[in-house]
């Protein structure tokens, strides 16, 4: 991870803008409306000021009270329009901004679902989370106000410059030169502060990751009295963040005063030159003073513009990180074969809607639908795999799981057992060789369907916030309460659930932290049992469950998995003993295979493992 964060890819502003435009484009009419309303609002403001002169000259000076009243009333109407427009664009902008932000968040989440596990292995959760929170926040901040303000300041600027041009073209040149100077400064300073904003967002991401990891692993921290060391590390990161964000905000904050000062200089130069013009008779004093009023006015929108530029810069850094994540390659899925429910009519399989408990692979070949019954026949043919290039985990594994049987993988830790099942469901892609499932190359099967055909109980139990019943029916929302209870009974979880204050409706929080590890495993098993899968994978699913309870679970499972393939990974040999086929893995290779009795007779590795358990028997 550290490596990843330290590495900075060339930031491509244009690409980020392109992505952003994609989101904004969907609301272009909204933006147009906002622009029109801003125009009205700004127009009312400028027009009101402009009207002052005629009102004074035509009504006030001649003493026309009625006329004055009419004029004031007219202006009131104008101003009301302005206020209404201001109200309108502000509200519209908030609504649109929230919509866009929601879409971005939603797409980001949906995209994250599709990323391969490799990506997750390389990033801390907190760091990924930071993109959803801190980075999206910066974009939202900018959208809420900046767009309207930018249009407004642009309009004001354009208006004032026009007025100045009318008064004196030559003097206006000075202003234009200064405006260009300011623009150059904004551009220069902007790229500098954007760099720091990006670093700031990265640092926030790091802190996010760190805090998340520490809060989650807090017991370990306490047990090791490691608070001080972690605090030191945190302070270091905190200091880094402080430094970067101070820099970012210093450069960003410099913009406004610099622009203000430049506009003073502009003002001074214009005044001097204008004064000289006046002296040489090129300009009358009246025009000069009103010209100078406009010069002064031009500073305001410039100022406002600069302020918004800051928000925009921060937002761009955020957006860049968001879109960078969205550009990550999703899991490859070129499979076309799907899973379907089937009914047997005589010897023929017929595809059907309802759940029959029988499944088939459905392949469309030149207008013809070919159904292959799902049996759970999994073969590995010379499979080579490594998580990191050049570090082989599996070294030419070939294996054949007879369908409808319980197949067990045993072997010492790190032999590659979990890796094998992670390959069957394509959590990771193999390097070479082939894995077939009922004779079909698994790469041809749509990933979702492949995974749906395998219910996995994985080593790390993970539960979700929600009731116990919700967690058991995680695999399929349509599972009835009755089925939930059945599954819980099979997993032997029913008795402890009943003892909880609210039974099946007890809420679980924070990954089920209010349950014991064994109970969490029971729930994970119930979750898998509830979907009544064609193929079941149990990866150390009962490691924290006492052997008595495990026995009972096994009986229940055997009943529902009758005639179906079950893969079991365990260290505890009592768990695998009654499997039909046992594969003994060693350093990424299968060294022995056979059933319990056969393997014991061989007196090989299995025998050693097995007798190790009861070495004094």
């Amino acid at each position: 991870m550290a490596r990843y964060l330290g590495y900075k890819r060339p930031r491509d502003l244009k690409r980020t803008m392109g992505h952003l435009m994609h989101y904004l484009g969907g609301h272009k009419w909204m933006f147009l409306l906002v622009a029109v309303l801003v125009l009205i609002s700004t127009g009312a403001n400028i027009l009101g000021t402009y009207l002052l002169k005629p009102v004074i000259n035509e009504f006030i000076l001649p003493g026309d009270v009625k006329g004055l009243l009419t004029a004031v009333a007219g202006m009131a109407v104008l101003y009301l329009c302005g206020v209404a427009a201001t109200f309108g664009y502000n509200q519209l902008m908030v609504i649109t901004a929230q919509k866009v932000i929601k879409e971005i968040r939603q797409d980001l989440f949906a995209h994250v679902q599709k990323l391969p596990l490799k990506y997750y292995d390389a990033h801390t959760h907190g760091e990924l989370m930071s993109r959803f929170t801190n980075d999206v926040d910066t974009v939202q901040e900018a959208m809420n106000s900046s767009f309207a303000m930018l249009i407004q300041s642009f309009l004001m600027l354009a208006g004032t410059i026009t007025m100045m041009l009318v008064l004196s073209v030559r003097l206006t040149l000075i202003v234009v030169v200064f405006l260009l100077l300011m623009a150059a400064f904004i551009k220069f300073n902007g790229s500098r502060s954007r760099k720091y904003f990006t670093r700031q967002q990265e640092e926030i991401g790091k802190i996010n990751g760190f805090v998340e990891e520490m809060a989650a692993g807090q017991k370990v921290e306490k047990v090791f009295n490691h608070e001080k060391a972690d605090f030191k590390k945190f302070c270091e990161m905190n200091e880094n963040l402080r430094r970067e964000s101070t820099n970012a905000l210093t450069f960003a904050g410099m913009m406004v005063p610099t622009i203000v000062s430049l506009s003073f200089v502009n003002y001074a130069v214009s005044a001097c030159v204008g004064g000289l013009f006046a002296l040489s008779g090129l300009l009358d004093i009246g025009s000069l003073s009103s010209y100078l009023v406009y010069v002064r006015q031009s500073a305001m929108p410039m100022n406002q513009f600069t302020q918004q530029v800051n928000f925009l810069l921060a937002a761009l850094s955020g957006a860049e990180r968001i879109f960078q994540m969205m550009e990550e390659e999703p899991e490859i899925d070129e499979g076309t074969i799907t899973l379907c429910n089937v009914r047997r009519e005589g010897d023929v399989l017929v595809e059907c809607e309802e759940k029959t408990g029988e499944y088939a692979w459905r392949e469309e070949k030149e207008d013809q639908v070919v159904l292959t019954p799902l049996k759970g026949d999994v073969r590995f043919d010379n499979v080579v795999f490594s998580y990191v290039p050049n570090k082989r985990i599996l070294n030419g594994i070939s294996l054949y799981a007879k369908p409808g049987q319980k197949i067990a993988f045993v072997g010492s830790t790190g032999a590659g057992k979990t890796t094998i099942v992670n390959l069957i469901n394509r959590f990771y892609e193999i390097e070479s060789g082939m894995i077939t499932y009922d004779g079909i190359d698994i790469r041809k099967i749509r990933k979702d369907d492949l995974r749906r055909s395998l219910a996995m109980v994985i080593q790390d139990t993970h539960l979700f916030t929600g009731t116990i019943a919700d967690n058991i029916r995680y695999g399929d929302q349509e599972i009835t309460d009755e089925e939930v209870r059945d599954a819980a009974r099979i997993a032997n979880a029913d008795s402890f659930i009943r003892k909880l204050p609210k039974g099946y409706d007890t809420m679980l929080y924070g990954d089920g932290s209010n349950l014991s590890q064994g109970q969490r495993q029971l729930l994970s098993i119930a979750r898998a049992a509830a979907v009544k899968p064609p193929v079941l994978v149990l990866d150390e699913a009962t490691s924290s469950i006492d052997t008595r309870t495990e026995r009972l679970i096994e009986k229940g499972m055997d009943a529902i998995m009758e005639g179906r393939t079950v893969f079991v990974i365990a260290h505890r040999l009592s768990t695998v003993r009654n499997s039909k086929a046992i594969m003994v893995l060693e350093k990424g290779e299968i060294v022995e295979r056979g059933n319990h009795e056969e393997l014991l007779e061989q007196k090989g590795r299995y025998y050693q493992l097995y007798t190790g358990q009861f070495e004094l028997e």
Binding site: N247, G510, E617
Partner: protein, 575 residues
């Protein structure tokens, strides 16, 4: 509350003061420049004095440069102050967080804690960094412009006495209504973060069950809720602008009307009216600035109270009763111990547990899933405090030890092992910061971790990844054991920490522990009888109560539960 938040500024306070000074001085220059300008035209141009024009022009440039200097200073100082405050707040939060017990963490949830440390703090620091300038400039401009306005025409200036209260009322009602909305919004953000966090941690389950779409739908719900909440809050806040405009335009119109009448009656000059109007604009502009700062502060207040909640959370486990004791031998004693996680829970998780573990002995604990084995041993290093009764070490109640000393003397390898991102050796060094390579190698040898570490391409420098994703379950467990041994504890507790280690290796670890660390008290929770059968005493825990304590042989003879467990594991062992 604001005062409390700002009190965390500490050493950065001087920067805040400097920033205020700079901003104030800068705005004064802004007021001076137009005056010089007036001279330039009224004196210089009218009299045709080129020299005067140059001089005044020069003065203006100098003013501009000074303003630039001050402006850069103010932005640097306010950035330092704001970000410094943020850093201090995060530090205070983190410090408080470290004292949290698990009840405390459960109370907030991890995802909310993370938000409170990051985006809530960002809210505050940004409103300081960017709000300081308008906050100081506003009043200066307001005072100066008002003074001038009054000096021009006192009577007309009375319009302010109507306009200002209206403005204040409007602003107040917006701010007071928007505050609770911001709080709600922040809660909605927590909810969104929780879903994201859960999803990220459980991504394997999500993928295995093909629930990506379901999760996305779930997310859609909270996301929509967040959108609604923030839309509500921001829409209300966005009323600020039109409200300001109404007052501003109203004031202008009244001024034209009243001022116009005054001119018609003859109480005022036209020039005065236009001058007056331009100052009014300035006044209202500064009010607008101030109101924006107010809104920003309202939002920070919502964040501020969330931050203070973390800092103020009452920590359950403290050194309050601690005296100066060190664990000498490592004898553990439970004296009629009762425990429950929540005070309002109907039943005790542990009830009436009494037992004594002599120093240096091996003590096995066995029992059904959910029989509170893990809970029981977590009372020893005070991860939780007993609800009733006492846990004693060397005859002294655990509460009388300093938590730090206590946990130094007791090493627990938790059932739910956690490794942290970083290299393998960095993780091991958790046990002992300054451990020598020999010590580390020895600990790894005892834990039987040496054999696979040698096989890793990067050896001790292997990157672990969050939660140790780069090693297998059994390897993780052995590393955790090595990490604990490195502490050289008086008491070592292994909570089912060899479940993923094969039996042969496990037996080896057990022998190594016995031979290499004979003085250490060893408490072993296990599922396998083989893991505890050699223990000096074995405790059978049944539903939080002591069922029996004895040696393997004794229990096999008299305890029914033990016999059942034994049978269930033995069956296949008959060759």
């Amino acid at each position: 509350m604001l005062r409390r938040i700002f009190s965390y500024m500490g050493k950065y306070k001087k920067y805040a003061l400097l920033a205020i000074l700079c901003v104030t001085a800068e705005s004064l220059f802004e007021l001076i420049v137009p005056l010089i300008m007036a001279d330039l035209i009224d004196v210089g141009v009218v009299n045709g004095d080129r020299h005067y024009i140059y001089m005044k022009g020069g003065q203006m440039v100098i003013c501009a440069l000074l303003a630039l200097f001050l402006g850069i200073g103010s932005s640097r100082f306010s950035a330092l102050a704001g970000q410094g405050l943020g850093a201090e707040l995060r530090k205070a939060e983190y410090e408080s967080l470290q004292g949290f017990s698990f009840a405390n963490i459960d109370h907030f949830r991890v995802s909310s804690i993370v938000t409170r440390l990051t985006s809530d703090v960002t809210n505050i620091q940004n409103s300081v960094s960017t709000g300081l300038r308008p906050f100081c400039r506003g009043p200066v401009m307001l005072v100066a412009a008002t003074a001038v306005a009054f000096s021009i025409n006192g009577k007309l200036a009375l319009v302010f006495f109507v306009a200002l209260p209206i403005l204040a009322v409007l602003l107040f009602s917006i701010v007071s209504h928007v505050q609770p909305l911001y709080t709600k919004m922040q809660t909605a953000i927590d909810l969104v973060n929780r879903i994201i966090q859960e999803n990220l941690t459980a991504i394997r389950v999500v993928k295995a069950y093909v629930k990506g779409e379901y999760e996305t739908e779930k997310f859609d719900e909270v996301n929509r809720n967040l959108k609604t909440q923030s839309e509500k809050a921001f829409r209300l806040a966005a009323l600020n602008m039109p409200a300001m405009q109404i007052v501003m335009y109203g004031t202008i119109l009244s001024l034209i009307w009243f001022g116009g009448r005054m001119i018609q009656v003859g109480g005022m000059q036209v020039g005065e009216l236009t001058g007056f109007l331009s100052y009014v604009m300035q006044i209202l502009n500064s009010l607008m600035m101030i109101s924006n700062v107010f809104l920003m502060m309202t939002r920070s207040m919502a964040s501020g109270s969330r931050i203070l909640e973390i800092i103020d959370e009452k920590v359950d486990i403290t050194d309050r009763e601690a005296e100066d004791h060190e664990v000498e031998r490592g004898e553990v004693e439970f004296d009629h111990v009762y425990f429950q996680y929540r005070k309002d829970a109907p039943e005790y998780i542990l009830s009436d547990v009494s037992l004594k573990i002599p120093a240096g002995s091996t003590f096995g604990i066995i029992g059904q899933t959910g029989s509170a084995k893990s809970t029981m041993i977590q009372l020893i290093p005070r991860l939780y405090d007993a609800t009733k009764g006492e846990v004693r070490i060397d005859g002294i109640p655990v509460k009388k030890y300093k938590v730090e000393h206590l946990r130094d003397a007791i090493a627990v390898v938790l059932q739910k092992n956690t490794l942290f991102s970083g290299t393998l050796i960095e993780n091991l060094r958790w046990g002992k910061e300054d451990a020598t390579m020999e010590e580390i190698e020895q600990a790894c040898r005892i834990a039987c971790a040496d054999e696979f570490i040698d096989r890793l391409a990067d050896g001790y420098e292997t990157e672990m990844g969050q939660g140790g994703v780069n090693v297998s379950g059994g390897q993780k467990q052995r590393l955790c054991i090595a990490r604990a041994i490195l502490k050289r504890p008086k008491v070592l507790i292994l909570d089912d920490s060899t479940s993923a280690v094969d039996t042969a290796t496990e037996a080896k670890i057990r022998t190594m522990l016995k031979e290499e660390l004979p003085e250490m008290t060893k408490i072993i929770i296990a599922q396998r009888i083989s893991s505890v059968r050699h223990a000096d005493q074995i405790l059978i825990l049944d539903d939080g109560k002591v069922s029996d304590i004895g040696t393997h042989e004794e229990l096999l003879e008299r305890n029914e539960i033990y016999q059942e467990i034994y049978e269930s594991q033995k069956e296949g062992a008959e060759l």
